[in-house]
Structure formats: structure tokens, C-alpha cells
Symmetry: C3
């Protein structure tokens, strides 16, 4: 390969002050090689079910499935069709993956200073041994290089899992998932620990497309005849047990707002029956979803599943893109979120119960210091998830440390989630967190706020043990 | 005492850059030993009324009355009963203060990197001479040590007041306070300057529990028969004069929102009469409170009392804790706050009058640069209070300096408030502010934004004179 | 001149870390002398129409027209009358400009650490050669000095335009502007490039004072008989062509909220007719304005004018000041702004069309990372304008870089706007941006996030080419 070599500085992302940089390097050194605990993400379990599973082309690995990548290209006027994103109507899209890769490489400069740019650079370098910068000139030779690597057995997902030193990886699975791949992983005898997570969004939002079909599926998979609210709850409880039997440690919930409400059994039943008859209103749907969050907390107290809640993404903002390409195409946009009043019904019901662990994620950073840190610094059941999605970045982490830690305290947070569907990017993502954590703690040490010994303990907790403990892994 | 010694770096909290650190040290040196002006806080005046007043046990001094401390322990699942917090129903709580102290010490690591941790460490070190870290092993020997100190005459409140070099300390006193301790302080001939502050929240919120009793008390204390809006206003005016006679310089107001409205005399009277008959609606209560804020500004213009307003705390968020333990138990949570539209009626009525000084406090930092700094940078009557409560921290101060000063200018701010009920923590709190101020100004100097001479003037203003002037002390 | 000399550090505003400072100096050196591209501002074109145009007194140049300056003096209790601000009723105001200047100089300390202080200091130093600090003692000698300079031909606007190395300057002109000065500039044969910008706020807000007169003017100037919605749209299209003929590259829109809605032709016509009859409701006005934003995007796609939109200023907050002195008197206050839901109708209509360039400006920084960066990082039509108004400051820029760039990417931003009516402050304003940009990029380089070569390319884009390309200049 030609061009100047990519060199990843061993001190990258650390403060340039020599005193802080030295301390950051020291602290980072304590965690750089710790196993990866990945308690929340979207990796497809299928890739571990079959020991011979192969990633596709470089474009299929890096571009086509990754909305972090193609949204940026799209924002600069490149049609998704040219990037090979499949259309719902089966319409023509680019099929020459070398051409797709060429466009990507020519526009790789768009990712300068972005977390996606950082992850991709590190992934190309560390996982694939690419040591020239990606651009229009190097595009094809890098394509060749990656293609050759992907053909090797060392690049099968299970081998990478081991090479990445992943101790445990949790996927996200709908309530209507058959969990077939998780079963296959278990039955295969492979030692890798890949666990499902129970996400009941598909059966909780009574006005979402396909809800009724999902309710039928839920009935089939649970073996419970779901015909009213009571049987719906029983079916959920059965499914949670089925997930637990395959190692699940947590549930996951996603909503636009943090609205919660505790309905009476009768009210919940009335809404559920209206929904079955296709007569639920928008208000019904919102109240039912708010109630089911509270009800899920009740179940968690009983069955011990940790509860995760991701709030505030307005999904499918771009109608044209949604209609042509479907969901998860880079058009989910955050909205301002209210927690203090919204969570009160939930927290008054179960927030004082230390058997519950509710981990909250927000896309509205203005709530960090104003609402979430004070709430987590009081309620025993509440913990704060790491900076999420757009905020999973160096600046996002810095803002999170600055605004959350003084009030919530480190011990009401839960370490890191990579939250990714891009499996080979996992080491890079955890590395950014570990470097950012080390640098933040180094800043506290050199300012006389914590001692070196405290920093040494805290960096291990941030990189490894807080996540493991919070998720009961 | 065993273990490694606690050393407080003389340069703590300063930037690690040598140039900025040197300048910060220089500027801090100019104010480190200035007298403390404490224009707003919640210290109980009782402790100064009796020259022989003694603090109780270490647990009674550090833990039981301080919701900053026990909320963090509670958030990690430690019941408040185990911390000796008294229950409303008189139910059993831990009475062995050594056990309470032991729990606190074992969990002191929870405060790493928090302002409470910083204050406690400095307070233990500087006020009580504790030079080993507080943890499970050192708990009892530190308890012994503090207990012995507290038995000494040097640890009576008046002696500490003098040792702390407090020039003036303002307390916060309800409109229905008899002010007996303030009278006793005056009559005792002691030279310490402890002044009351008039806080009429107990008579302004017509739907709050106990409002009617408070109105009766107000009538008794003012000697005005309060039977309608007109007599209510007269009673308030009398009480303000009574507070002034004991040295009061300011009033204080606390509300959930910044809503203001100017009612006609007739409307105000109608609401007041409905309230006396127990028939005021929620809307009545909100409108009346919004009106009384405007009316208080009118009174301030006439009698010269500076007006403080603390906006945005959702009180008693946790019903169970409120019912079992009462208010001020660490369960007050901020909410998003709107100022621009809400303050308009007030500011259009009195904001152009330079005789009024209205000092605003917010828990919603997103309003600093967006609303409060532009408002304070325009209206002659408006000043911004320092970062409040959860934001009274190193990062909170940094964010405040960054977001407020460029638009409002330093001279529309009022220096520091410690806002504490923990009397022995006052020097530590002011020290954090002085260090943070010096460090911020040093950053401006080394970036060529202000000159050294300007920094030298400004640091004294921030540490001392702005507060003194704004509160007319 | 006496007193100690003002020295502007060549490294001012850079981080004090030597490694970062050296890199910042290097990057700044690449752009310090590039021509100024000023694509949005409020300079009066009149000053370039007449080659002999002279600025008035120092007070007329620096104080009387600049609400950034007098609002701060007003906030400290100095009546606007004393600063010579003309009253609407023709009432008495200070006419002795030396007295006005004296007050300003005595209070110049109020601007310490503010962007206005930075610009004024640099402007006095670089443009007028003032090398002593401005204060009460130096006031009159500096006045003499500036007055003498202003009498020289070198201080005519055209000469300063050339000296400032301005490549292009865009003004802001209402839809009802005759554009006479722009025509005069063109006809004068002067080589300076001064272009109009089409701002139709005066004809779009149907309930604003004077709207009907403006509609008549619009009819006259366009030669279209405006009697219904269809003819209104035609008149706008004609005027846009007239602006384009004089070089306009863009339109500009200002609203309180980001509300958009697409009305049917019939609905729009019904509202327009009601408005002509003076019967439009507040709701009509809001819906019509929201519709006209969408319609303006449609026009931009057709005629190629770039669209600018400034959202979130509550105008004329202070009624007394507005009634006595009129608009633009330092009493415009930002409000919290919602973009995600509000922009959806507009973006779903035209956001996917790369022929449209819509540049958004906000006064609510909490929307940077939460809403605007994700939107701009997806929609091809959307770009983000630089930090605006109160946020056009060193900290404002830092916050913008930190919160926008990781998600939107640099290439969805558009460089700098000075947005000023204070013509001689333009070089200082661009210099602050260039220094802040260089320092930010230097921070990325020394942290190993971008390479030196990337930083060198990006600093030129930020200082010069992004603006030129986005505005098609």
C-alpha cells in the first residue's frame, strides 16, 4: 500500500497537558486490555449461531447496514440507492460493491472529527491492518485488502469475538423473537457468552403497525391465549422466563417520551380490548405504553431482569426515506424530553425498591444535570446509562462526566454500552470510552479532586465492573 | 491516627497548565483570606443566640440534618432509618450515632468527585484537623476525634463564626417567624453580624398545607387583622419593617415556575377571599403567587429590601419519603424552566426601575445563556445569582462562568451564596468558589482576554464586593 | 497618549497549552490574511453608495446605533436618553457626543470578558490606532484621536472596505426595499462587491403593524397587483428576481418559532384575504407564516436563492423601551425552541432536494446536539449557520464546535457570518472566528483526532470556502 501511513497515537484523545496526559496514560494502561463487557447492543446473534458465518463484501460490512455511515453521505446529497441500500419496492439500487466503496472512500473526509470517523479508522487499522488513509485513491486497494481478510477463517465472527476478548455480549430481541439463534449458540457448545435481551416494544405500542399480528405471535410463542389484559401480562411473564432461560439479564424499552401512568387493572383491560378491536385512540396507546413501563418495573422486581429504557428518539422523521427504504435509515431525530414529572408515577410506585434496577438513557443532554442526575442521586432503583447514540462520542462523554457525576456520583452510573450493530467496531468503541474515562479521571487527579489510588479503582469500575454489576452479569 | 495522610493541594481545582495555574494561584492569593460575606443561606440562627450552644454528635453535625449527604447513601439502597433520620410517625430509627457514622464512613467513596465530598474532606481537615481518609477502618477513630473537638469551647458556633472570619451571615426566616433568636443575638451584645431574610412563601401559596394558620400567625405577628387582600398586603409590609429593624437586607421567594402576572386589586382580593374560605382553585393559587411576586417587587422598590427568587425545584418528588420523613429529604428535583415569557409582566412593571434589585436563581442551566444572561444584560433591576444547589460545584461554576459572563457581564452577577444549613461547611464552600473564580479569571488572562490588573480587580469583586454591594450589606 | 499601552497578544484566544498553542498559531497563520467573505449582516448599503459618505462622531459610530453596546450600559442603570438614543416622541436626549463618550468610557469595564469588549478593543487598536485603554481618564483624548481619523479620506466606508480586504459583503433588505443604494453602488462603477439579501418578513407576518402598507409597496415595487394569495406569491417571485438582478444570493427569514405547515392554495388564499380585510386571527398569522416558510423553500428550489432562517428571538420584550425608543434596542430575548417536530412539514416537502440550501440559526444552544446536528447530518437540504448573536463569542463558538461537529460533520456547516450593523467591527469579528477555529482544530490535532494536513485544509474551509460555497458566492 502507498501513501503516508496511518499512525494511531498511543496517547490519542488524552488532554495535551503533560501532567494530565501522563496520568491518563497510566490509568488507561490499567484497563486497555480488560475483557469487554457489552451489556446492550444490536449485533445480530445469527452470526454466532453458525461457526462458518461469513461477513459479506466490505460494503456489506461497513456501509450498507450502518446508518451512522450512510446518513452522513446522504446529508451531502448522495442518494441511498447509490450506496446499495435496498428499497422496499425492490427498485434498482447499486449492486457493484466496489462502486459503493469508492463513493464512501471519496467522501470519507466528511467523517473528520466525528466518532464514526474515529471508530472506522481504528477498526480498519486494528482489525483489518489497513495502514493507509481511506480516500478516493486508496479505495480499491483497501477493498482488495479487506476482501482478502474476510475470506480468512480468522475473520469469522466467533474468531473475532475471541480475539476481541469479549466476556459477554447482549443482543436485543423483540418479544416476538423465536430466539432460534440464541438457542443454536447454546446448543453449539461454543464457549462465547451471547445473551438475549427482552424488548417488548413490538407488543406494547397498541397502535403500531403489525401490533395485532405481534400479539398473535406472542400468544403462540408463550403458549398463552392472549385475549385480554390479564392474559397479555401472563404471556409477557412467560416470555421473560423463556428469555431468562437463555441467559437474558435485562429488558429494553424505547419510547418517544418518558410518560408513565399507573392504570387500574380494569382501565388497562378496557384499552387492551379496544386495541384488539382496532379501536384504540392515540391517547389510549400513549397511556397504555406509559402503564406498561410501570408494569414492566413490577415484573422486573419479581423476576430480577434489569430494566433499560431509551427515551426521546422521534423515529422515521423523513417520510420519503421511510416509505422508500424503511426504518433505521439515519432519520431518527431526538426531541426535548421531560423526566421529572413524567417519571413520578413510576418512581413513586417502584423507585424506592432496591430490587429494581432501572437504567435510563436520554438523547436530551439538557436533562443530565437538571433532572437525571438529581433523580439517580436519590432513588435507589435508578441508574443512568452512558451517553447514547449521537452522544456516544468524545465530547458527548465529556459532557456526560461533567454534568452527571458531581450530582449522581459515579456509582449511580453503569459504565459503557456500545449499542452497536456493527460488530467489528466494538473494540474501537470501548477503547474510546476507556480513553475518555482515563482522561476524565486524570483531570480529577491532577486538580486534586481525587487521589491516584481512587482514580485507579474508578477507571476499572468504569471500564469493566460497573456494567457487570449493574446488569448482574 | 493511622493510614496515609490527607493532603489538600494548595493548587487544588486549578487548571494543570503551569501558566494558568501560576496565575490562578496569584489571583487566589489575593482573596483566600478575605472575610466571608454570606448573603443567603439556611443556618439556624438559634446556634448563635446561646453563647454555649453545642453541636451534637458527629452524626448530628454531618449526616442527620444534611440531605446532600444522606440522599446519596439512600440512592444506593441504605434506608433513611439506618441513618437516624427521624420519622414523622415517631417510628423506630437508628439511635446509635456511632453505627450511623460507620455506615457513612464505609460509603464515603460514593462522594468521590462530588462537591459534597470536596466540602466534607476540607471541613474535616481544616475545621476538625482530621488528616486520614474517612472510610470503614478509620470511622471510629475519626468519630472520637471529632467528638472530642466538639466538646471544646473553640467549637461553639460563635467561636467558629469568628474563626471563619465571617463578616456577615444572612439566614432565611419565614414570614411567620417570631425572629426570637435574631432578637436574642442582638440583645446578647455579641458582635457577630447575623441578619434575618424575609421569606413569605408560607403566606403566599394559598393552597399550601397550613396556609390559613399561617395567615393567622401573620396577623398576630404584624398586629394587622388580616381579613382581605388589602390587610394582607399591609401585614406583609409591617412584617418587612420588623425584619428590617433586625437588620434584614433582603427577601427570598421560591416557586416551581417563573410565572408572573399582575392582578387588579379586585381580582387579587377575590382570590384571597376564596382562599380564606378554602375555595381557591389551583389556578387561583398559581395566579395569586405570580401576582405576589410582582407585588413583592413593588414593596422592594419602596422599602429597599433586595429581592431573591429561587425558581424550578419540584419539591417532595418522592411521596413515600415525604410521607414518612417530611420535606427536605433529598427528593427535590429540578424541572425545565421558562423565563423569557414568564417574567415579562414583572419586568414590564418594575424591571426598568434601578431602585429594585431582583436576584434570580435557576436550576435549569439551559436558561443561563439563552434567557437569563440576555435578560440581566438588559434590565436594570435584574441580577443573576450564583450557580445554585446541584450546580454549586466546580463544573457548575465553570458552566456558569462560560454561559453567563459573556452576555450578562460580570457586573450583572452578585458573587457567591453558600446557601447552606451546614454551618461548618461555609469556609469550604466559599473556598471552592474563590478557587474556581481565580482559575476562570486566570484562564481569561492567559488567553489575552483580560489583563492581569483587571483579573486582580475582578477576583476581589467575585469573592467579596459584588455580594456586599448587591445585597446592600 | 498616556497610560500603559494596549498590547494585543498574537496568540490571543488560543489554549495556553504550548503544544496546542503552537499548532493553533500555525493554522491561524494560514487564514489570518485571507479575504473576508461576509454572507450575512446588517450593514447599511447607503454608506457605499456615496463615495464621500462619512461616519459621524465617535459616539455615532460606536454607541448610538449599537444595541450590543448600550444595552449593557442600560442594564447598569444608565438611561438611554443619556446615551443619545433618539426617542420616538422626539423628546430630549443627550446631544453632546463627548458626554456620551465619557459615560461609555467610564463604564467600559462592564465589557470585560465579553465579545463586545473584545471587538471594540481590537477595532480601536487595529482600525483607529488607539493604544491606551479606554476609561474615564483617557476618554476625551481617544475621542479627539478617533474624530481626527474619521475626518481623513482613509476612513470613508469604501476605503475601509478595501483595507479590510472584504471580498463580498451581503446586506439584509426588506421585501419592500427600493434597493436604491444597491443600484447606486452598481452604477457607481466601484469594484466593491456589496449584495442585497431578500428578507420578506415585512410582508409575510400578516398581523404585524404596517403589513397592509407593505403589501401595497410590494405591489408597486413588483408591478403586480396584489389582491389575493396567487398575486402575492407572484409579486414575491418578481421581487426575488429583482434582488437577484442586483446580485442577491440569498433570502433571510426571522420568526419566533420554527413552526412550519403546508397549507393548501385555497386555505392560504382564505387567510390572505382575511388579512387584507384586517380580520386575520393570531392563529391565521402563525399558520400563514409557517406556510410561507415552506413556500419560500419551494421558490428557492426554483430560483436558486439560498434560504436563511433565524429562529427564536422574542422581539421587543421591554414594552417601555419599545414604546419610547422603538425596536432593536437590546431588548430582544431568546426563547426555548423546538425544531424536530416543527420543521417536519418543511423537510418532508423539500428537505430531500439537494437544490435547496436551507441555513438554520438558533438562539437555543440546547438544540445544537439534540436536534439541529442530527437533522443537518441527515437532510441534504439542511446546513447549520454559525453561532448567532449572543452566541457569537469565544465560548459560544467552542460550544458550537463541541456540540455540532461530531454529529453534523464540518461539511454540513457554513463557516462564519458576522451579522453586524457595525461595519468597522467586521475584521475583529472574523478574526475571533478564525482564531477560535484554529484553536479548535489544533485541539483535534494534538489529541490525535485529525492529522495536521486535515487541520490545514479545514481551517481554510472554516475561514473562507465553506461560506463561499454554501452561499454560492
Amino acid at each position: 500500500m502507498a501513501q503516508h501511513r496511518v499512525v494511531l497515537s498511543p496517547d490519542r484523545f488524552f488532554d495535551p497537558n503533560p501532567e494530565q496526559r501522563d496520568m491518563a496514560r497510566h490509568l488507561y494502561g490499567l484497563v486497555a486490555h480488560l475483557p469487554i463487557v457489552s451489556p446492550h447492543g444490536h449485533v445480530d446473534p445469527r452470526m454466532f449461531a453458525d461457526p462458518d458465518y461469513r461477513f459479506g463484501s466490505p460494503a456489506e460490512l461497513f456501509i450498507i447496514p450502518d446508518h451512522y455511515v450512510f446518513r452522513m453521505l446522504y446529508s451531502q446529497g448522495i442518494p441511498l440507492e447509490k450506496l446499495g441500500i435496498p428499497r422496499r419496492d425492490g427498485g434498482e439500487v447499486e449492486r457493484d460493491h466496489r462502486k459503493i466503496w469508492q463513493i464512501f472512500a471519496e467522501h470519507f473526509y466528511l467523517f473528520r472529527g466525528t466518532p464514526t470517523g474515529i471508530w472506522l479508522t481504528q477498526e480498519l487499522h486494528d482489525v483489518f491492518g489497513v495502514d493507509v488513509p481511506l480516500n478516493g485513491e486508496t479505495a480499491q486497494v483497501i477493498y482488495d485488502h479487506i476482501e482478502a481478510k474476510l475470506a480468512q477463517p480468522e475473520y469469522r465472527p466467533r474468531r473475532l469475538f475471541e480475539r476481541f476478548n469479549i466476556e459477554v455480549l447482549c443482543t436485543t430481541d423483540m418479544a416476538t423473537s423465536t430466539l432460534e439463534y440464541h438457542k443454536a449458540i447454546r446448543e453449539s457448545g461454543w464457549s462465547g457468552r451471547v445473551l438475549p435481551t427482552f424488548r417488548p416494544d413490538d407488543v406494547i405500542h397498541v397502535n403500531a403497525p403489525g401490533w395485532k399480528e405481534n400479539i398473535h405471535l406472542l400468544g403462540e410463542l408463550s403458549g398463552v391465549d392472549v385475549h385480554d389484559y390479564g392474559s397479555f401480562v401472563r404471556a409477557l411473564e412467560v416470555r421473560r422466563e423463556q428469555f431468562k432461560a437463555l441467559g437474558a439479564r435485562a429488558t429494553d424499552h424505547a419510547t418517544l417520551t418518558a410518560y408513565t401512568e399507573r392504570l387500574s387493572e380494569q382501565e388497562a383491560d378496557r384499552i387492551f380490548r379496544r386495541a384488539l378491536q382496532g379501536e384504540a385512540t392515540e391517547e389510549d396507546a400513549q397511556r397504555f405504553a406509559g402503564h406498561m413501563i410501570v408494569e414492566s418495573a413490577r415484573m422486573s422486581i419479581e423476576d430480577g431482569l434489569v430494566m433499560q429504557w431509551h427515551v426521546g428518539a422521534f423515529r422515521n422523521h423523513n417520510r420519503l426515506i421511510y416509505e422508500r427504504f424503511g426504518p433505521d435509515k439515519g432519520a431518527d431525530i431526538p426531541v426535548a424530553t421531560e423526566f421529572t414529572r413524567s417519571l413520578r408515577p413510576l418512581l413513586n410506585a417502584f423507585g424506592n425498591d432496591p430490587r429494581l434496577t432501572l437504567i435510563l438513557f436520554t438523547l436530551d443532554e439538557s436533562t443530565y444535570a437538571r433532572e437525571l442526575a438529581p433523580l439517580a442521586g436519590h432513588y435507589p432503583a435508578l441508574r443512568l446509562g452512558p451517553p447514547w447514540w449521537f452522544h456516544d462520542s468524545l465530547n458527548g462523554m465529556r459532557r456526560y462526566f461533567d454534568r452527571v457525576m458531581e450530582t449522581a456520583g459515579l456509582y449511580n452510573t453503569v459504565g459503557f454500552n456500545d449499542d452497536t450493530r456493527a460488530f467489528p467496531s466494538i473494540p474501537a468503541r470501548h477503547d474510546v470510552w476507556r480513553r475518555a474515562s482515563a482522561n476524565w479521571l486524570a483531570g480529577l487527579v491532577v486538580r486534586g479532586i481525587i487521589t491516584v489510588a481512587e482514580g485507579e479503582e474508578m477507571v476499572v469500575q468504569m471500564a469493566y465492573s460497573l456494567a457487570k454489576e449493574a446488569y448482574r452479569l
